[in-house]
């Protein structure tokens, strides 16, 4: 796959990327998924010899670099060993079946002091420091070769940090400062020592190769499905980390995932897709064929329904979100804005920087982010982890208590009022950690049965004198860069929306729904919630890359949401019918 991706970049056959990236995009946009291991409960194991090698090199580097000019005050070495199996099918055939074992080294050198260092952001959101990147190191425990790689990478990172600090010191005086100016650049945290067992799994790829063929062959039965991709991944990731404050940890997590993705086109050319995923952490819990085919049947009927569905007309009025849709909605419009590092944005437009202690949503809603939690009911929570990517133990954090904003997801980048990390510094391999969500859980104490919730919804529709309300069954999230100064925009894109009529007519599927206005305001208008909680697991993309997360929420009724018709693609539907559904001639 790596080779193929490079091929894409290299030849600029932009189109091919759709085939490959579509599933990733769908999952990345969508967000929350499955879990990891526990932290406190994890048994201890003997330390890996890798740690001693890393420590030996750290013990050479730190004394020298801490006396250099400018001085390094913090060094962190991390080796991530990843064993990843991927089996991918499309349209009834095997696309790819591969297994990769890698070890990557990441080195972080911070120069200056906890108060002001090379990561200091001047003039807005951008840090002068580039993403540090990751270097492939030997798969075998060869101390000499690993130490050479660490040594070289330490030098490179020190050099980059030193250059960045000089520029920061020059620029600092002339740049606009954020409200959080004066907060230190890096928090002091207690060092941790922890040696978890190595995470590993046993797996035979062969059965999965047949499964992905079968799972995608099913979709060929529908003439509305233009393309299907099913991907199975198994990943064991073990992280080894030492830093100059004394932290020395090793821990690992295993994750399994099955993703289903189909694409189609409406008669007017609008691109349509459906996506579903299963996540599990214990190989015994893999989904049965029955469960997968049931999900596929739903996806197929939804896609076929969408192809025929009318376009939505502009609407403002009562709406209802299923638990899964609500979870995505909260992740995008609340969770991202509550990430600690965003509070330093000079524009402050979309943040909660000055709202701590103030009500930001109805008093029956509370929100926590709890990466220590492995499951919610039966569902695995994908955003679980024992330590974050800055070596800080994960913590349950109350973000909103009875409608009042209490705190932020914090990495080691402090705010004035929040001087410490709460174990939410996360990153994709090669990126610098930022504060990110883990398991975002929305709780309610105004719960009614789901049947009662629907009754309340219809009542609200009638009260507002509308003939129908909108039921959002599935929403995709998305992260886009919109330009300098305002790098983040969190899209919520409704995928499956029904009209629910006040007069009792059957619900009607509509397509092309685009939420307008400020989605954040909708959170103030929650009327009531159901008494079940749905979990959505996914990979969330942002500045520090793609990380596994969960979001969980009950279904809810919102008194007002505004939508419009989204722009359609100009690409027409295919000229010819799919080969398997062409009854006019030459098909075999």
């Amino acid at each position: 796959m790596n080779a193929i991706r490079r091929f894409i970049l290299r030849t600029q056959l932009l189109t091919i990327s759709i085939f490959i990236v579509a599933v990733l995009a769908a999952s990345a946009h969508a967000f929350p998924r499955k879990p990891g291991q526990a932290q406190a409960a994890q048994p201890q194991a003997p330390p890996s010899p890798l740690l001693a090698t890393m420590r030996a090199e750290l013990d050479r580097s730190m004394p020298v670099l801490s006396h250099a000019s400018p001085p390094a005050y913090f060094i962190n070495y991390s080796v991530t060993q990843s064993r990843r199996v991927q089996v991918m099918g499309s349209n009834g055939a095997l696309l790819d079946s591969s297994e990769n074992l890698n070890r990557f080294l990441e080195v972080q050198v911070r120069v200056g002091s906890y108060e002001l260092d090379d990561t200091h952001k001047v003039g807005g959101q951008e840090s002068l420091q580039m993403n540090p990147g990751a270097t492939a190191v030997p798969l075998e425990d060869d101390p000499a070769v690993l130490r050479r790689a660490i040594w070289l990478e330490t030098d490179k990172q020190y050099r980059a940090a030193a250059e960045a600090l000089v520029r920061i010191q020059t620029n600092k005086e002339v740049q606009v400062q954020s409200a959080e100016e004066g907060a230190p650049d890096f928090s002091h945290e207690k060092p941790k020592t922890f040696y978890g067992p190595e995470a590993a799994y046993q797996l035979d790829r062969k059965p999965w190769e047949q499964k992905v063929r079968d799972y995608t062959a099913y979709f060929r039965q529908s003439s509305d499905i233009i393309n299907s991709i099913v991907t199975f991944t198994a990943q064991a990731e073990n992280q080894y980390e030492v830093n100059s404050e004394g932290t020395q940890i090793q821990f690992g997590q295993v994750r399994f995932r099955l993703e289903l993705f189909i694409q189609g086109k409406a008669p007017d050319g609008m691109d349509l897709n459906r996506y579903f995923n299963f996540d599990w952490v214990d190989s015994k819990e893999e989904p049965s064929n029955d469960a997968v085919f049931a999900a596929e049947k739903t996806m197929r009927s939804e896609l076929e329904g969408l192809v025929k569905a009318p376009l939505v007309e502009p609407y403002a009025g009562p709406s209802m979100l299923t638990g899964r849709a609500a979870a995505v909605f909260f992740h995008e419009v609340f969770g991202h804005r509550d990430e600690g590092f965003r509070q330093k944005d000079v524009s402050e437009g979309q943040t909660f920087a000055r709202k701590v202690g103030e009500p930001i949503m109805p008093d029956f809603i509370s929100i926590v982010d709890d990466p220590t939690r492995l499951r919610l009911n039966k569902d695995v929570l994908l955003g679980s982890y024992p330590f974050d990517d800055e070596g800080v133990p994960s913590q349950r954090v109350v973000l909103v208590d009875k409608g009042v904003l209490k705190g932020f997801e914090m990495s080691r980048q402090p705010l004035k009022e929040f001087p410490n990390s709460n174990g939410h510094g996360r990153r994709q391999l090669g990126a610098a950690p930022d504060s990110r969500q883990g398991n975002l859980i929305v709780e309610s104490n105004r719960k009614v049965s789901n049947a009662e919730l629907r009754r309340l919804f219809i009542e609200e529709i009638k009260k507002q004198g509308k003939t129908f309300g909108l039921l959002f069954d599935d929403i995709a999230g998305g992260f886009t860069f919109t330009g300098r100064g305002q790098p983040q925009a969190f899209r919520v894109e409704p995928l499956v929306v029904y009209k629910v009529y006040a007069d009792g007519r059957p619900d009607e599927l509509v397509r092309g729904v685009n939420i307008v206005g400020t989605p954040l305001l909708s959170l103030m208008k929650i009327v009531a919630t159901g008494d079940t909680t749905d979990v959505f697991n996914g990979y969330c993309g942002a500045e520090s890359g793609s990380v596994p997360v969960s979001a969980a929420a009950p279904p809810m009724v919102i008194s007002e949401m505004e939508v419009e018709k989204k722009e359609s693609s100009t690409d027409r539907p295919p000229v010819l019918p799919p080969p398997a559904h062409d009854h006019s001639g030459d098909k075999q």
């Binding site: 091929f7 696309l95 030997p138 000499a144 010819l576 080969p579």
Partner: protein, 612 residues
């Protein structure tokens, strides 16, 4: 941001003995039953049936239907092994299949191709992509169906934009867009990969283990890349092809920093077709050891001062520098039209302009010199040639092209994109991974009819130096290839930026140069500077050649913007087509050399850790 990961490249040479059959009536598609039914590969059947459906019925109301549709598919088995200082860094095996559908609107004279509009791709799935590896009929038809649909719509969009652009020109180009060629039917047995004949992981480790003895080496990486590919082409002219080929490569970088801070590197690379022809680990180790010694010596060697005078290139160095000088000029296909002036400017800047286009029949080299490009040659004096292939990536049989005879320009390498001198392909349309095939050289052979022995050439060299009253002159033993020699992407990018500045004016970068004392012929290693003004005009005035040519294998980069320029000689198996060039030593009477310099970078503050 995650470094690592290697690549692959399609290759060159059919494995099986091939029988090329020219079908007669051409555009009449063959029925599926006519394929050799010896294997379960249903790929050609699926291609055939979907191509036929598209040929007869792919048309939107009130617009043109395609005049040409081509399906290309490549089945790739790739093995990549990376090691460093005797330790295994990664080992991967991948099996993938890619397809690409080409649709042309218009006619051979003027069609939707050869135009860079800068517009966004239309459609949502695109005309290329990954397809199932099973050789399965139904899924492949589904994939080809949607890709054809997308390619057709893209061609319509391109054609509309192109016609708009042509109307704005006072004199539209007269060269046709696409050559007409005889269809080829060639269905060879598939070759399956065999990874078991050698222990490649062990070899990669063994080859680099001895480098641990050099504490002054900062970094080292070796990558073995073994590729088996089966290439399929089918088009509406009647071409139907299935050929298997292989490419095998070893690429290794060794890096350090000079005492005053300049980053330095050396490299070793070799490209052959069959894995079995790769050198033994003992041989690779020997080569790396010699380069490590050379690099250690270069660290402390005196930097070369500015110079202008005779320069002698050893055969290896001559071959490598000729690859850069000749690469853009042996191509006869014209460049695409572009709405974006930047595209032409960039090509020009990187030395991508042909110095020979439009000069057929003129003298372009010394009268004693000849130049041939021969993809049909599979070996040279028993050594396999990496640039060999039986049919090119457009399904045209490869042809030996006699480019220069007795100094006179006679022919050029052609793809199916015509140029100002020639309208037909001669089987030199090449690319990797189904990228757009473009004309490129394969196995270039440069020869002199009056080559001198090494001793005589050196004598002539020293005499020329003496005539100019010099105490010393320059000898180039090895040219640089930063793409292989620099392992870090950001450093490579900055190096390329630097090189790009001088590529068009003939600035070339040697790696190993010696100062030769005129009085006694003694040689002293120097830190090299850049050679200036080395373009084909200078080659025409070369004052002497050797008679003991060396063959150098390399990968010609197909990267967008780099392909077809002087910098294309800096490729890797990741991004380039395997090629060879053979040349004797060359004596240039007068080359200007810029003094050695480089970014002074602070040495690591911490000394290197022990290597044992």
């Amino acid at each position: 941001m995650i470094s690592a990961t290697k690549k692959f490249v399609p290759a060159a040479r059919t494995i099986a003995a091939v029988a090329i059959l020219f079908s007669i009536g051409c555009a009449v598609p063959l029925r599926a039953q006519q394929w050799p039914a010896a294997d379960a590969d249903r790929t050609l059947n699926a291609m055939q049936d979907e191509l036929e459906r598209s040929r007869t019925r792919m048309q939107l109301p009130n617009v043109e239907k395609p005049y040409f549709i081509q399906y290309r598919l490549v089945d790739l088995d790739i093995r990549t092994i990376t090691a460093s200082f005797g330790a295994l860094v990664s080992t991967t095996t991948a099996h993938n299949r890619l397809m690409d559908v080409g649709v042309r609107i218009g006619d051979y004279k003027l069609d939707s191709s050869n135009f860079i509009s800068g517009g966004n791709p239309v459609g949502f799935l695109g005309s290329a992509g990954q397809v199932g590896v099973d050789g399965d009929y139904n899924s492949l038809r589904q994939d080809l169906w949607i890709a054809t649909d997308q390619a057709y719509k893209q061609a319509l969009d391109d054609m509309a934009r192109k016609q708009g652009y042509l109307r704005s020109l006072s004199k539209p180009p007269e060269i046709a867009d696409f050559s007409q060629e005889k269809p080829v039917v060639m269905v060879n047995p598939r070759v399956s990969p065999d990874w078991t004949n050698r222990n490649w992981e062990q070899e990669a480790k063994q080859a680099t283990a001895a480098l641990r003895a050099y504490p002054g080496l900062y970094a080292n990486r070796i990558t073995y890349t073994l590729i088996y590919e089966t290439y399929y082409v089918m088009n509406t002219e009647g071409t139907r092809m299935r050929v298997s080929r292989t490419i095998s490569a070893i690429e290794s970088s060794i890096e350090t920093q000079a005492p005053e801070g300049v980053p330095m590197h050396h490299f070793y690379s070799t490209y052959v077709t069959r894995p079995v022809d790769l050198p033994s680990p003992a041989e690779v180790s020997r080569q790396l050891d010699a380069r490590a010694k050379e690099l250690m010596a270069l660290r402390t060697a005196d930097p070369m001062p500015a110079y202008s005078g005779p320069v002698l290139f050893d055969a290896r160095a001559a071959a490598a520098v000729l690859a850069q000088m000749l690469g853009p000029s042996v191509i006869g296909s014209r460049a695409p039209l572009s709405l974006l002036p930047i595209v032409d400017q960039l090509t020009e800047r990187l030395g991508g302009r042909s110095e020979w286009s439009g000069r057929i029949g003129s003298r372009v080299l010394p009268t004693e010199a000849s130049l041939v490009d021969d993809p049909s040659a599979t070996d040279s004096q028993g050594r396999p040639l990496a640039g060999s292939y039986a049919v090119d990536d457009e399904g045209v049989p490869s042809q030996r092209v006699s480019i220069v005879e007795a100094g006179m320009l006679r022919n050029l390498d052609m793809s199916r994109r015509p140029g100002s001198d020639f309208a037909q392909s001669n089987g030199h349309g090449r690319n990797i991974l189904l990228g757009e095939a473009r004309a490129a050289s394969s196995n270039l052979v440069f020869r002199s009819a009056n080559g001198l022995s090494a001793a005589d050439l050196k004598k002539k060299f020293l005499a020329a130096c003496k005539d100019e009253g010099r105490q010393w002159c320059l000898l180039v033993r090895e040219m640089d290839n930063p793409a292989v020699g620099i392992s870090r992407q950001e450093e490579l990018n900055s190096e390329f930026q630097d090189l790009a500045g001088g590529a068009s004016s003939g600035e070339r970068v040697p790696l190993v140069v010696y100062k030769v004392n005129v009085a006694d012929g003694n040689e002293e290693l120097m830190r090299p500077g850049h050679l200036l003004g080395l373009n084909l005009r200078v080659l025409r005035d070369a004052s002497g050649f050797g008679n003991d040519p060396a063959t150098v294998s390399y990968a010609q980069s197909q990267e967008q913007g780099i392909a077809g320029t002087a910098l294309a000689a800096y490729g890797t198996v990741d991004n380039g087509v395997p090629s060879t060039i053979s040349a004797p030593a060359v004596l240039f009477p007068d080359v200007e050399v810029r003094e050695a310099r480089g970014e002074m970078r602070r040495l690591p503050l911490v000394p290197p850790p022990p290597m044992q």
